[in-house]
């Protein structure tokens, strides 16, 4: 039986889109926390900690997200823990985003002139206060365009969650195309939905880049 494309099918697509957005949000939120830890470790000045963080970054940037999803999903399964696809995907996205955001933010932290740290040290300001009030506010500001660029990648990357049975936007598209036999139409709509999310983000990134550039002059 061939199903036609009606309101019910659009509702499914909307649900798929909602899952995609939820996955992106959770990946970004958890990855943001992890990325901050990685960036701080990577620029800590402690050799062993920097090495550890560098290793983490290289592993997760140097392997496909798809592989990371598989390994987390089946790997955690091996530990005899029952792990929902939801949990597995969240963990994998978090690790993935932590590595990328950590590297982006490390670069931003290191771009802050040494004079800022020296001025803080001369005033007797310790590490935590220095990071919280002096270095990170400046570093995060200059990292905004690259961070949003990665967020766009992440939104599209969540489509890989379909592989382990997670019914987000892409998988919803696959299912619908199987029952409607209108793959081109369905995937056209799916593509438009991704575009509708990512394009405004890209625009936002570019707008912020423009807004931040004049502030960089002295």
């Amino acid at each position: 039986m061939i199903t036609t494309l009606g309101p019910a099918q659009f509702l499914l697509l909307a649900q798929g889109l909602a899952w995609t957005l939820a996955l992106s949000a959770i990946g970004f939120a958890l990855g943001g926390l992890g990325g901050l830890v990685i960036a701080l470790a990577r620029s800590s000045g402690l050799k062993w900690l920097e090495g550890l963080a560098a290793f983490f970054i290289e592993v997760f940037r140097g392997t496909p997200l798809l592989l990371q999803l598989f390994i987390v999903y089946y790997g955690v399964g091996l530990l005899d823990l029952s792990v929902s696809p939801w949990m597995a995907v969240s963990i994998a996205l978090m690790l993935h985003a932590s590595a990328f955001l950590g590297e982006i933010w490390r670069g931003s932290i290191e771009a802050i002139p040494a004079g800022q740290t020296e001025a803080a040290l001369a005033l007797g300001i310790h590490y935590a206060t220095r990071m919280r009030y002096i270095i990170l506010p400046q570093a995060l500001k200059i990292s905004v365009p690259a961070t949003i660029g990665f967020l766009v990648q992440l939104v599209k990357g969540t489509s890989l969650a379909a592989i382990i049975g997670f019914t987000e936007l892409s998988r919803t598209g696959t299912l619908l195309s199987n029952i409607t036999y209108r793959p081109l139409l369905i995937f056209g709509i799916v593509g438009l939905a991704y575009f509708a999310v990512c394009w405004p983000l890209s625009r936002l990134g570019r707008a912020m880049e423009r807004r931040l550039t004049p502030a960089a002059r002295t």
Partner: protein, 249 residues
């Protein structure tokens, strides 16, 4: 003046290396409390390095450094104690660009000294008034001229009530017309009992405020003398050559 009481700054046999390059060669340096020192010398002579060792922005390989009675070691306690007592002004100002002038001045008193906000604000406004920049308190550093920024940097350091002030070429990055306002501020500061060590090539400033001029070359202190003597009768050949260079223009 120097001699009897405990010195504000004491350096004994200090060696400092950057890799294989020796920046300080067995430096002995003593500053009495309340004394005002001008450090000069050709670029690369180690004068900035010497000043940066005093609050441990640089570590040394050998020798002793005692600041206000605290032996400067790797220990966090000693470093904290010294930095609490020592203010520093940099060539490039190093103001925090994302904070207003007032916030720049309030951060350390609140976070390091545990001052209350109101108290920190009051102190900051008083010191900003003293460097005559109180009406810019709510502006950001980028909105100010270089001379104004450097005066803010001086006020920011003073907000921590330091007993020793270090100046590392405070006027070298300024346009010529702004040098005077910064030097005037520093001369005003010299009228108080703050101990000052100032790396500068402003010889007029040295004549006006220094108790002693210290000349460095190749990582060594070559000559030190009161300004009159230093400028009129330099003893060492390298000092003569250096002063000759300055006066040629």
């Amino acid at each position: 003046m120097p001699g009897t009481e405990e010195p504000a700054i004491l350096m004994e046999g200090v060696d400092k290396y950057y890799g294989a390059f020796q920046a300080l060669k067995s430096v002995n340096f003593r500053v009495a409390s309340g004394e005002r020192i001008v450090l000069c010398g050709p670029s690369g002579s180690g004068k900035s390095t010497l000043v940066r060792c005093i609050n441990r922005l640089e570590t040394v390989q050998r020798g002793r450094i005692v600041v206000d009675g605290t032996e400067l070691t790797a220990g966090r306690k000693a470093v904290d104690a010294v930095r609490r007592d020592v203010g520093m002004v940099f060539q490039q100002f190093n103001l925090f660009p994302h904070m207003t002038v007032l916030q720049n001045c309030m951060l350390a008193p609140i976070k390091v000294r545990g001052a209350r906000r109101e108290e920190a604000r009051e102190t900051a406004m008083r010191l900003l008034a003293r460097v005559q920049i109180q009406e810019q308190a709510n502006k950001y550093p980028a909105q100010l001229s270089g001379g104004q920024q450097q005066r803010v940097a001086i006020a920011r350091a003073l907000c921590m009530s330091p007993r020793i002030m270090l100046f590392d070429e405070p006027t070298s990055a300024l346009d010529p017309e702004m040098v005077k306002e910064v030097l005037d501020t520093m001369i005003g500061l010299a009228a108080e009992s703050v101990t000052m060590v100032c790396v500068t090539h402003e010889m007029g400033f040295a004549r006006a405020v220094a108790n002693r001029v210290v000349f460095m070359a190749d990582g060594e202190i070559v000559e030190e003398a009161p300004p009159d003597e230093f400028f009129s009768a330099p003893k060492h050949r390298r000092t003569q050559a250096f002063l000759g260079q300055l006066l040629k223009h």
